[in-house]
Amino acid sequence: MTTDYLAARAFASPHAHGGGEIRRTMLLVLAALTPATLFGFWLYGWSAFFLWLMTLSSALFFEFMSLRLMGQKDARRTLGDGSALLTGWLLAMTLPPWAPWWVAVLGALIAIVIGKQVFGGLGQNLFNPAMVARVALLISFPLQLTAWVTPLPLTTLPAPDFIAALHITLGQTPLPDAMTSASLLGYAKTELARGIGLAQALNAGHAPPLSWLGVRAGSLGESSALLILAGGIFLLIARVIRWQAPAGVLAGALIPALIAHALAPETYLAASTHLFSGALMLGAFFIATDYVTSPITGAGQLVFGLGVGLLTWIIRTLGGYPEGVAFAILFMNALTPMIDRYLKPRILGRTWSGRPLGTTTTGKGA
């Protein structure tokens, strides 16, 4: 394209181009999200599909409008890089599947306009756009954002048909109480507040192992932790993401959970429950690995991940909200510039202390 004027193709270390492009990366991430999303559609029916479609199309619409307003000539090309699509998709994964349509539209507006384009577009934003929207929605509309439904798989009888599902998404049918249900983390928090021990509270209906398969109340992105995990491992193998951030998130939540559960199993959820519930898997593999809002170096990503995991555990255990992945990620996003500042890589050709390589370190000066 514009590299024609280069006399030779750069092939040596700092200049060689890996051949990657934004579009390819985004498409791989979208592919990794697909299994969990399809499973979610089956689990929560047409309403989940409508909400997903609504979020994605509004994300694209607001991206297009922002680019137009900012005077970008070639809006279609920027739109085609898939980043708005991914933001919309990630946001849809964190919403209650039966949420009304305006939640999706408003969420996409916040994510794309306030979360991303206001800062200057892709690569400029300080905070992960999908998480900004998720938190803004949760704080603004706590009722709609915590109305989880019990899974009614598409093939079963009580599942709403196409038209009924459309009515739910359009907000014309209030959710029947019999269909709403707390997510596992929310349920555990309520029961603990009532003074009921976890061993008694987590009986058949809310048994943690069931939740690993994903047949439980929750958002698209949290219902099937195993499929999300599979998608994450696919991204690791495809070298789209590195292992440091996900490992950090998982370890950051695992270690305190293990210790606390060993000390007082009645008041602290088991480590496996923490790992496979809520949005921890989605956060670890898909959000904490966001190139734009996480640290650059591997060590930095590890610190970032550990912070997210630890904060998530703290918010879940001690905070007012049952789930804290989004808050934890936003908090660590804010610390990312500082992490990058303190965990710089060694300068090429110099020692860690900044001295040129090959000079004597015993003498007073060179």
Binding site: L106, I114, V118, A136, I139, S140, F141, P142
Partner: protein
């Protein structure tokens, strides 16, 4: 050698607006603007302090030496704010209960010391009074606008509790636009920053468009006009 009345008014209300152009006094602009009424009340109280402070500073500008001017200005402003605070508490007690702490905080509002230092200490009493009034009205306009937008988005009302501020004859201002409640976030601090940011961007876009229409070079208009232009 003071600027014309029209320039002073235009400067305060729009071109050099305290909030939208000078970007100072953002603390009250974000903290009290949870409703249009609060913004209006805060704006009016600040305007009163601003006008009197400007007049007093202009009166003593030739008496106070360069070295001690800042402490003298601060003491003057603090005294005025105390007077306003007590006066509101005595005669507009309902409003005082709404605005409460923020009245006392007018004293740390940098717009007032800023105008005293940048304008009143260098200009005549008349010009300073007009400048104080213009800046105060611009500030009131900004706060009321931010408050109205946040109130509309956050709780679906306009000028809620207006009778408490302006008296029963202004009860018609109070409007319930819709009963769905609203986005709580807009009442919280992030809502203030988001509204403020979009309004500033909107002002600049409008200025650029006006400049383009007048066929003046937009590049020149881009820079913030000097306070004494």
């Amino acid at each position: 050698m003071s600027a014309s009345l029209k320039t002073l008014m235009k400067d305060g209300l729009w071109d050099n607006n305290v909030v939208f152009a000078q970007m100072i006094a953002l603390c009250p602009a974000a903290a009290v603007t949870t409703s249009g009424t609060n913004g209006l009340g805060m704006g009016m109280a600040t305007t009163a302090v601003l006008v009197v402070a400007n007049i007093l500073v202009a009166l003593i500008r030739n008496v106070v030496s360069e070295q001690v001017r800042i402490p003298v200005f601060v003491v003057l402003i603090a005294t005025l704010v105390t007077v306003v605070d007590m006066a509101l508490n005595a005669w507009l007690h309902e409003l005082y209960k709404v605005l409460g702490l923020f009245i006392a905080l007018i004293v740390v509002n940098c717009a007032i010391l800023g105008r005293a230092e940048a304008f009143a200490s260098k200009n005549s009493v008349g010009a300073s009074a007009v400048d104080g009034l213009a800046m105060g009205l611009g500030f009131t306009f900004a706060l009321t606008l931010i408050g109205l937008i946040r109130e509309f988005l956050g709780s679906g009302t306009l000028f809620a509790q207006a009778p408490q501020l302006l008296g029963e004859s202004f009860a018609f201002l109070e409007v319930q636009v819709h009963a769905h409640g609203g986005a709580l976030l807009m009442i919280l601090p992030p809502g203030a920053f988001a509204v403020l940011g979009f309004l500033m961007a909107g002002k600049r876009a409008l200025d650029n468009k006006l400049a383009a229409r007048q066929n003046t070079a937009p590049k020149e208009r881009d820079s913030v006009p000097s306070p004494l232009a």
